[in-house]
């Protein structure tokens, strides 16, 4: 049965190869082929899941060795897969949500002439992401890690004719390079320290390693996670990544790829548990990002960018939980899965709205859409209730647990983290209510297109698009309760990540009540501001904070001033040095060699007598030196 594991990756990979190399012959049905590959992988995932459930807990993780890529003494690079409960969770999430989004895309991309390529990239993404979560060593994980980066780059820039999309793709790629550098350094450190980069040997030997080295590895892994999961300070690319087609935003930049950082930290729990300083850094990054993303989300008028801020913030929650150690890992992953449902649903809803509104993304030009798109409204609304943590829905359970775990950290630290998480919950409720109000309530504010003069005619999207939204909405509603019932998710994941019961300084019930109160406060405030009063079509000037948040809290300005400008200056200096110093030397050397060559050529006269003479001379020298060597 284990032999099915490689197929999980192989099926979408074959799909990608077929679609990208297959040529125009596949244009007509290529999208269904891609969808089939995704569904096939999901089917295999389900079979493996059922099979795993049938085994006793301690026998659930399985390893499938495929081949040894570089078998050198002391350097063993294997292509081997590991399927344990953590990987299984991801496999189902990736292939499940992935399949739904493939189906959705058949509708969303129906009129795009490069549709086949789009599905090829999506399949490529699935294969890379599955490789990432199935790898049994960091090197193979790195392959997947780079693979999803590539797929993300290709898909953000899918509409490459738009300069903004091309720039956004480039930005995402470059910012991710910084994080990837962290991962590669971490892998090198591991190899130096443990002589291996397979999970088993590394985690097994972690106990004996010095804390300093583990901290260094942990911090490098965190850097990697920051890049991929858009955490402060490498968060700047995610907002721009919304230039990609909306299904991409839903799959890659909300539900799966951006959570790879959380996976990395959780997977490396053995390292982080022994490196408290690195854990503190993780927690700090998570907390800052959850507030940062939430504030950005409050100010954006672009529906996708508001959701992107929200994604950043929600992943901040997960990173925070993962940084708390065994009291948080399970909840980080649980929130990851529930978030996968509701955020994918919200994005698909946003895509559906855009679909009906001539690709308008400015929420100030929406309003009152609930009448025109009832299904979208209903599914988006359920996703909305889930993300703000409305009691009984998915987000409520998972977020509540994280806030509880944050308080359980203990001491002043615990209080700070807990309160920040509570504030985050309130802000989440605020910005999500704002999105909801601006989009679906109030009077209609849409206007004719400035270029074509065409008035949008909002309409419900076709079935292939609404169906996935419905499925995801169901998940958004029930997943949390399902996971929490009888601590099912905890029991499922505990053998891999470990678990410690957290002891918050205030009763758990009080945390729940506080969270709910905060949420209601956020909703109330947003309702007053956007539900009760008219939403102006041109955005008001706003406070300094609003203006800063509209510009992503000045992250680009910061990067530009601190990184880009000194970087360009350094590059300019190097270019100067290169052209004046090095090139002068190199060119001079080349000229010298050329000159010598030209001179030497003349020896080649073409006369056989000259050649014979040179041979004779050479022989004399050879004989003489041989004799000379003996005498010295």
């Amino acid at each position: 049965m284990n032999s099915l594991i490689p197929l999980l990756v192989a099926v979408p990979l074959a799909g990608a190869a077929l679609l990208l190399l297959g040529g125009r012959a596949l244009d007509r049905f290529g999208h269904w082929l891609g969808t089939l590959a995704a569904a096939g992988s999901f089917g295999i995932g389900l079979v493996l899941f059922a099979e795993m459930l049938g085994r006793p807990t301690d026998q659930r993780p399985v390893r499938e060795f495929l081949y040894s890529w570089i078998p050198v003494n002391g350097f063993q690079a294997d292509v081997a897969f590991q399927l344990d409960q953590l990987s299984m969770t991801f496999v189902l999430l990736i292939t499940g949500v992935g399949t739904l989004i493939h189906v959705y895309s058949t509708g969303y991309m129906a009129h795009d002439e490069r549709r086949r390529r789009f599905f090829g990239y999506l399949n490529l993404f699935l294969a890379a992401m599955l490789l990432l979560v199935l790898a049994d060593n960091y090197l193979l994980l790195y392959v997947g890690w780079e693979g999803v980066g590539l797929a993300s780059y290709l898909l953000i820039g899918f509409w490459q004719h738009k300069p903004s999309a091309a720039t956004a793709a480039k930005k995402a790629f470059i910012v991710n390079r910084v994080g990837d550098l962290g991962l590669s350094i971490a892998i090198m450190l591991m190899f130096v320290e443990f002589g291996s980069f397979a999970f088993g040997p590394v985690f097994g030997a972690a106990d004996d390693a010095s804390e300093g080295k583990l901290t260094a590895i942990g911090l490098m892994l965190l850097l990697a996670a920051c890049g991929k999961s858009a955490q402060v300070p490498l968060q700047s690319w995610l907002g721009d990544a919304m230039e990609g087609p909306t299904p991409v935003s839903a799959l890659i930049h909300a539900a799966t790829m951006v959570t790879a950082g959380v996976y990395l930290i959780t997977r490396s729990s053995a390292i982080f548990d022994l490196a408290p300083d690195a854990q503190t850094a993780v927690v700090a990054v998570g907390t800052v990002t959850l507030l940062f993303g939430a504030i950005v989300g409050c100010a954006k008028d672009d529906i996708k960018k508001a959701l992107a801020g929200s994604t950043m913030s929600q992943i901040g929650y997960m990173v925070l939980a993962a940084g708390l150690g065994p009291i948080g890992y399970v909840f980080a992953i649980m929130h990851l899965v529930t978030h996968g449902f509701f955020k994918a649903g919200l994005f698909l809803g946003a895509g559906s709205v855009m679909h009906g509104m001539n690709d308008e993304v400015n929420m100030r030009h929406y309003g009152g859409l609930r009448k025109y798109m009832p299904v979208t409204f209903a599914t988006f609304g359920l996703g909305y209730l889930a993300i703000i943590g409305f009691p009984g829905l998915s987000g409520f359970f998972s977020k509540d647990k994280i806030i509880e775990a944050a308080f359980s950290k203990g001491g002043t630290e615990g209080w700070i983290l807990g309160l920040c998480a509570l504030v985050g919950a309130a802000v989440t409720a605020f910005y999500m209510t704002r999105v909801m109000m601006m989009t679906f309530f109030g009077e209609k504010r849409w206007q004719p297109d400035p270029e074509t003069g065409e008035e949008p005619h909002p309409h419900e999207s076709p079935k292939v698009m609404t169906l996935p939204m419905v499925v995801l909405a169901v998940g958004s509603v029930f997943a949390g309760a399902l996971f929490t019932y009888g601590d099912a998710f905890l029991k499922w994941l505990e053998p891999v990540t470990g678990f410690e019961e957290g002891h918050p300084p205030i009763p758990a019930a009080a945390v729940t009540v506080l969270t709910t109160v905060c949420m209601l406060a956020g909703v109330g405030l947003a309702y007053t501001m956007y539900g009760r009063t008219r939403v102006p079509v041109t955005p008001p000037v706003g406070s300094a904070l609003t203006r800063a948040a509209r510009r992503d809290l000045l992250q680009d300005d910061f990067n530009h001033a601190v990184l880009v400008r000194p970087g360009s200056a350094l590059a300019a200096t190097l270019v100067w040095f290169d052209s004046r110093g090095l090139d002068g030397f190199v060119n001079g050397l080349a000229a010298t060699i050329g000159g010598v060559s030209g001179r030497l050529r003349r020896v080649q006269t073409g006369f056989v007598r000259t050649y014979a003479l040179s041979m004779f001379g050479g022989t004399l020298v050879l004989v003489a030196t041989t004799l000379l060597m003996r005498s010295v």
Partner: protein, 545 residues
């Protein structure tokens, strides 16, 4: 000879002369090739002219293929490792290096025969496809006889048996275990090559000039080799490599004659130096390289490719056997000298190539530089170095043959367009061919993921392990210089505008296409997955004594 033996022979008592014991089975690779060569000659005599082409190709491929099969069988029987030994009264050795190199030479020869047989590049004459060889080798260039033969569409099918004879000599050369056999092998391989060099269909005079130069200088070098043999016989009282080694290291029983000669190290050292001259000439090392560019340029291109690949392989095989079997005890005498030769060869080859304007001359200088790189592996004088050289020769043979095969395809009205200026913009006109040639050039330059990198890395690593680090540094620096002119051709092909009346790229028959395709596959294969062949070469790297 002693008087008693005279008497015995005169008396007809043949029992006192033991009949030499010949292991025909183990010599079969050479015997098969020689038999095929003789069959080829008979074909020339008895088969009608029109049928000869097909028959010759059949004989050649069968002979070479059969010989290769024999090599594989012998290797499988363990003759490369545990069953290695001396044959034919100690004059021929069968061991790992011999079988490995014989295999390489035979495969190279098969590829070469395919390029010889190519008949779609030249315009058809009198309804017959013709190849790169002269219509009638003996005709005076420009004379009436030649014109008639050309008009009649004659071809020189003798090239096939000539090549087989050369291959036979090449098989024997790295296997020869005494100096006389080695000399005979040297001549057997050289004489047919001299002839082949003079048989180009186009630019006949240049071709004949090349043949004459090669012959004169080759004879000159052979004389040195033979003189060295005589001196060594004078010193050691034997021409067998093992015996010489015993005398040099002082383990041989001291006979009265030896007590006199072994006093005189000059015999030994001068003899050694002269043998080296003969072999260094064949591999094209500086300062015995002067013939290389002229001959490579003048010879028919398929012959150049064959010569550059197989002669070098055979000559380095002999070189290795000579220095690893007969003179390991003299390491401290010959190594410094070879250091000098290797450095000169690498540097001069690379620097001279920089200003070349003809692609065949460029490849000739490149082959000189490569001889230098291979010499660094020889100088390592350890088992690792031996394995590395074997691998290098395998890799280099296929790249070289492929590169010269590509050269045959770029043509204008005067035949092959070998001037570099006419290769400008080839990448736009014929991207596939230019890409293939670029791959071969990258392999020559030793860029990773090609066989050239693996080979170069292996010899340099072995040389460094053998204590020749300065040599490695020179090697890497000359590789950098060499990279310049290889990349220059790539830049020329892909980033220059094509000439308006530039050459066209001929569409070859499956024969040349196969040779080039195999070259590409081997170049990539040995670059991407070299482990199996590195292991094979390393397993084969032990000489029998």
């Amino acid at each position: 000879m002693s008087p008693t033996l005279w008497l015995a022979a005169a008396g007809g008592n043949s029992a006192s002369i033991p009949a030499p014991h010949i292991e025909y089975g183990q010599l079969s690779p050479m015997l098969i090739v020689f038999a095929a060569a003789v069959a080829g000659i008979l074909t020339e005599a008895f088969v009608p002219r029109r049928a000869r082409y097909g028959v010759q190709i059949g004989i050649s491929l069968l002979g070479l293929g059969g010989a290769f099969a024999a090599v594989v069988v012998l290797a499988a029987q363990g003759h490369a490792t545990t069953q290695a030994g001396l044959l034919a009264m100690g004059s021929v050795a069968i061991d790992g290096p011999a079988l490995f190199l014989q295999g390489v030479i035979l495969l190279t020869a098969v590829m070469a025969v395919l390029t010889y047989a190519e008949r779609r590049l030249e315009p058809r004459l009198n309804g017959h496809g013709v190849d790169s060889f002269a219509a009638q080798g003996g005709a005076v260039p420009g004379g009436d006889q030649e014109r008639e033969a050309t008009r009649a569409g004659f071809t020189t099918t003798e090239v096939f048996p000539l090549t087989l004879f050369a291959v036979g000599g090449m098989l024997l050369f790295p296997a020869a275990n005494d100096l006389l056999t080695m000399f005979v092998a040297l001549e057997v391989l050289s004489l047919p090559l001299y002839l082949l060099c003079g048989l180009a269909r186009r630019r006949r005079l240049l071709s004949q000039e090349a043949a004459l130069k090669y012959f004169l200088l080759g004879a000159f070098a052979s004389a040195f080799f033979l003189f060295g043999t005589a001196l060594l016989y004078g010193y050691a009282g034997s021409v067998q490599l093992g015996d010489i080694a015993d005398v040099v290291s002082g383990v041989a029983p001291v006979t009265p004659a030896l007590t006199v000669t072994t006093q005189n190290d000059a015999l030994l050292l001068i003899g050694l130096a002269m043998l080296s001259v003969g072999l260094l000439f064949k591999v094209g090392a500086v300062p015995f390289h002067a013939w290389t560019p002229d001959v490579y340029q003048g010879a028919p291109t398929p012959v150049t490719g064959f010569m550059a690949a197989a002669t070098k392989t055979a000559a380095f095989g002999a070189f290795l056997r000579l220095f690893y079997v007969a003179f390991p005890g003299l390491k401290w005498d010959w190594r410094p000298v070879m250091w000098g030769v290797a450095i000169l060869t690498m540097v001069a080859g690379a620097i001279l190539a920089v200003t070349q304007q003809d692609v065949k001359r460029l490849l000739a200088y490149s082959s000189i530089a490569h001889a230098g790189f291979i010499l660094t592996g020889v100088i390592a004088t350890n088992r690792q170095g031996l394995g590395a050289v074997l691998f290098y020769l395998l890799a280099y043979s296929f790249v070289t043959l492929g590169a010269f095969a590509v050269v045959t395809l770029v043509r204008d009205s005067k035949g092959e367009a070998t001037h570099l200026s006419s290769w400008a913009g080839l990448g736009r006109r014929s991207p596939l061919l230019a890409a293939v040639f670029a791959l071969f050039l990258l392999a020559f330059a030793g860029i990773p993921l090609t066989s050239g990198f693996t080979g170069k890395f292996a010899v340099f690593q072995a040389a460094a392990a053998g204590g020749a680090t300065p040599l490695v540094i020179v090697g890497v620096l000359s590789s950098a210089v060499a990279a310049f002119f290889y990349i220059r051709v790539i830049v020329l092909m892909f980033f220059s505008d094509p000439q308006p009346q530039g050459p066209s790229v001929a569409v070859p028959s499956p024969l040349t296409a196969t040779a080039i395709g195999v070259g590409v596959l081997v170049t990539l294969g040995l670059g991407l997955l070299p482990q199996y062949f590195l292991d094979l070469a390393s397993k084969a790297s032990l000489f029998v004594r």
